[in-house]
């Protein structure tokens, strides 16, 4: 049985370059590094829990197929999240469905049910609030608040300016505070 995977110290651009030269381990490392963040982002955007892994795989697949279009203007993670977001948007449009209702939430069982329930209640309200935001505000908020991306990065992948991204973020925060309060 193989032992635990040793983390690769190479930066994302170096891993991408290695993958382009045929190093498949570099691709696996990129998945290890970003799949969880991508999954959380997609779920927060409204993806159904049972779809999250498929969406992750498809996002990475598309990303690896068009690595040439990643020019380093944004971080690899932000670029990947943008691909995932577009994929989810296409899926929702194809299925003609609304974002997943909260009742369908299917998260891991809590170790402390009471504390977990209270926390998940706030998170559920945030998720419901996010679903009511305009798409750009929702994406800017999640990239900034959840992923810690800077405004320059967000602007590069969403095709806007850092100033406009900042305005979207503050509008989203204001609206979510009202919805979650």
């Amino acid at each position: 049985m193989p032992g635990p995977t040793i983390p690769d110290a190479r930066t994302d651009p170096l891993l991408v370059a290695a993958y382009r030269n045929g190093d498949e381990r570099a691709a696996a490392e990129l998945v290890r590094r970003h799949a969880k963040a991508l999954g959380g982002f997609l779920y927060s955007l409204g993806a159904a829990p049972e779809d999250v892994e498929d969406l992750i795989q498809e996002s990475f697949f598309r990303a690896f197929r068009r690595l040439d279009s990643w020019r380093g203007g944004a971080s690899f993670r932000s670029w990947l999240l943008a691909i995932g977001s577009n994929l989810l948007k296409d899926q929702v449009r194809k299925r003609k469905e609304k974002l997943v209702p909260l009742e369908d939430r299917d998260l891991q069982a809590a170790s402390d049910p009471h504390a977990e329930l209270a926390a998940s209640d706030v998170e559920d309200r945030i998720r419901a609030g996010l679903a009511e935001l305009p798409r750009l505000q929702r994406e800017v908020f999640l990239l900034r608040a959840q992923q810690g991306s800077d405004y320059g990065d967000i602007a590069a992948i969403l095709g806007t300016t850092p100033g406009a991204a900042r305005v979207h973020y503050h509008q989203a925060v204001k609206r979510l505070k009202e919805l979650v309060r």
């Binding site: 995977t5 498949e24 691709a27 696996a28 998945v31 290890r32 799949a35 969880k36 963040a37 999954g39 959380g40 982002f41 779920y43 927060s44 829990p49 999250v52 892994e53 992750i56 795989q57 990475f60 697949f61 690896f64 197929r65 998260l107 891991q108 926390a119 998940s120 706030v122 998170e123 945030i126 998720r127 908020f141 999640l142 900034r144 608040a145 959840q146 992923q147 810690g148 973020y169 503050h170 925060v173 204001k174 979510l176 505070k177 979650v180 309060r181």
Partner: protein
């Protein structure tokens, strides 16, 4: 609502663990409901993402993805081979049609400055004296393959007597 945003630019960085609060910021956070509310919002949105992320088996995703990429590469390669083969076949057909379309006297391609060679009729006066039946027989034999193998009607000149041999030689000399 006062709409205080004094810590807005710092909250995501501190929540993600890439920065820490300064003493003055901590003091403000303790006293400002707006900033506290924003801090709670950002922290909860991070937890929302993390809880889902914990359930994702990254090794399984990586394995499936690499298999898919490998399969896709093979499909791309065979598709490229098929396309090249089709192009080659199409080029061959076009070439054959183009060559077949050259009517009239068959002109061989000129080499250098040499004049093109035109296929000409070869005159055989020795055939003029033959009766139609004999001519047919000769023409029929000319159409036969050159290598007649061990045909039973093949006659060696050594088998002929002197008169027959003389007749054959007269025929050759016209």
């Amino acid at each position: 609502m006062t709409g205080c945003g004094r810590l807005s630019d710092r909250i995501p960085a501190v929540a993600s663990g890439t920065a820490e609060w300064m003493p003055g910021e901590l003091q403000h956070l303790a006293e400002c409901d707006e900033c506290k509310s924003e801090w709670n919002l950002v922290s909860a949105s991070r937890r929302l993402g993390q809880r889902v992320g914990e359930n994702i088996d990254t090794e399984a995703v990586a394995g499936m993805l690499l298999r898919r990429i490998s399969t896709n590469r093979q499909a791309d390669r065979s598709k490229r081979r098929w396309t090249l083969g089709s192009l080659a076949a199409a080029a061959a057909v076009v070439l054959a049609v183009w060559l077949g379309g050259l009517n009239g006297p068959r002109v061989l391609a000129p080499i250098g400055n040499r004049a093109p060679m035109v296929e000409t009729a070869i005159e055989l006066p020795e055939l003029d004296s033959l009766a139609p039946a004999e001519l047919d027989s000769v023409l029929q034999r000319m159409d036969d393959p050159a290598d007649t193998g061990s045909g039973t009607d093949q006659v060696d000149l050594g088998d002929l007597n002197a008169d027959e041999l003389q007749r054959v030689l007269d025929t050759w000399e016209g």
